[in-house]
Structures are given as structure tokens and as C-alpha cells.
Amino acid sequence: MIAETNLADVVISALIVLGAAFALIGSWALVHLPTLMERLHGPTKATTLGLGGMLVASVLFFQANQGIRSAHELLISLFLFITAPISANMIAKVYLHRRRTDPSGNVETPAGPPPPPGTGDWTTYRRPQPGSPSSTAEN
């Protein structure tokens, strides 16, 4: 496929390996870490540096080896940067919700989150107050 080795190839290869490694570490974290909230930290690695490395490698690859000026890989990162926190947030909410309503499903859980100061609670447990920033589309 590619004959001569040059600096670009080295960088590209390094980025590919780096990205793949971070993706693997993220997935390893998912298996290895003890509780859900800790495991949840794994995928952010795959999303950010794992895939990011791969995408930059792709940009460089098509630029250096094919002469195609390509940047659309950045779009993937853009979308993932928007969506990945949402996924994590929702999964965390599911965790919070289930640990209070269905303790049997969370045998390994250590202490839950402290309530926010004052009389309120987290939105997973309590409907957002009208007019507050957290009640975006409540109607």
C-alpha cells in the first residue's frame, strides 16, 4: 500500500496507534473499574483522544498520501463533542435513579451523591423548579 517511510507516515502511524490505544483503554476501563460511575469515565477517553487521534491521522493520511485536502473528519469530533456529554449525563441519571428506586440493581454501589445545599434535590429526584435554568422545556 505505502512504500516509503517518511515523517508524515510516522506521525500518522503514531496517531493511529495512540488513538486505538486510548479507545482500548477506555473499553478496558469499562470492564475493569469497580462501579458504574467509575466505568462511565472510560468512554470519554475513547470519544476524545481515541477517536480524535484516529481522525487526525485520517486527515493527515489523505493530505500526505493522497494529496486530498480533507478536513471533514473534524465533523465527527464536533458531533461527538456535542453528544458524548449528553450520553454520559443521561447514563448517570439512570444510575442515580435506579440506585434510589431499585437498590437490588446496584449491589456494588458505595455512597450515593450528597444532596445539593439547601432544601432542594437533584433533578433526577425532583422536578426542576419553574423558572430555573434547569426547567428548559417544562411546560
Binding site: 465533523l75 458524548a84 451523591p113 445545599p117 437533584w122 430555573s132 434547569s134
Partner: protein
């Protein structure tokens, strides 16, 4: 101009996205991109009531800072995952009091926290003034909260001025 392009930030973002999708910088694509950038925000305006205005420069700087933090944090967390035994982990729940008061700004802050490995934004308080963050490993939760507030929140207040 203001009426034609009520949200210049979104319009610019759309033009950039369009050019990235087309993956070429030809004039034709730019033209179509501009049309898309003008029309789509108008068309989707009802779906985003009270679109905030954004300080471009501050936003760009914020973005670069976050990118850098992401790269650094990736390596730190990788080390924790690979080399720290599970029983030595010091996970913690952080309650971050918020000075930000628009949902957009809070969301960006929460997103930033989640994207940087090691912390995940988990919930918002019903009153909207506290953010619940889970940290994978932290020695001093209060310091971590302070770091988040000083490093990200203060900057974001400028972005969403």
C-alpha cells in the same frame, strides 16, 4: 443585517459545517453554505427560544483551553486506569455551585467537565444552581470544585456575556 442573520455564531458554525461536509472550499460550496447558514437558523428559530449571543473570541480561546485539558487529562486518566489498583481509587461526588444562570452556559460547562476525562457531569439541582459531578480519582474534592469554577466557569461567563 441583524434581522437577516439573527444568530451570526450559529450561521458561521453552519457555514463551517457545510464546508467540512462538502470537504472542499470551492466558491459554489461556500455559496450554498452561506444560504444554508442563513436559512436554517431562521427555519429552526422556533425550536430554540432565547438563543444566547456568544462572544466569539472568548469562545475560541475557551475551546482551545478545553482541547488542551482534554489531551492532558486523557493521559492522566489512562495512567490511573492502567496502573492504579481499584481499591486505591478515590472516587468522589462533587457539588459545584453555579454562578452561570443560562441553561446554555450550564450545559457547556457540564459538557466540558464530561469531555475532560476524570470527571463526569451527572446531574443538575432542581433549582438549577448546583451541578453534580463525579470524579474518578481526587484527593481533595473542594480543590477540584474550585478548579472547575476558576478554570472553566469564569471563562464561560465571558463567553456568554
Amino acid at each position: 443585517m441583524r434581522r437577516l442573520v439573527p444568530h451570526p455564531g450559529l450561521a458561521v458554525l453552519l457555514v463551517i459545517v457545510w464546508l467540512l461536509m462538502a470537504n472542499s472550499l470551492s466558491f459554489g460550496n461556500l455559496l450554498v453554505g452561506v444560504v444554508v447558514g442563513i436559512l436554517l437558523p431562521i427555519f429552526t428559530a422556533p425550536f430554540w427560544p432565547g438563543r444566547p449571543s456568544v462572544n466569539f473570541g472568548a469562545g475560541l480561546a475557551y475551546g482551545l483551553l478545553v482541547l488542551w485539558d482534554i489531551v492532558v487529562a486523557n493521559f492522566e486518566v489512562a495512567a490511573i486506569i492502567l496502573f492504579r489498583r481499584n481499591r486505591d481509587l478515590r472516587p468522589a461526588w462533587l457539588v459545584v455551585p453555579l454562578a452561570l444562570d443560562t441553561p446554555e452556559a450550564i450545559t457547556v460547562l457540564a459538557g466540558t467537565i464530561s469531555l475532560t476525562p476524570g470527571t463526569v457531569s451527572s446531574d443538575v439541582s432542581a433549582c438549577g444552581r448546583y451541578l453534580l459531578v463525579h470524579a474518578l480519582d481526587t484527593a481533595d474534592p473542594a480543590a477540584e470544585v474550585a478548579r472547575i469554577k476558576s478554570r472553566y466557569e469564569t471563562r464561560l461567563r465571558k463567553v456568554f456575556a
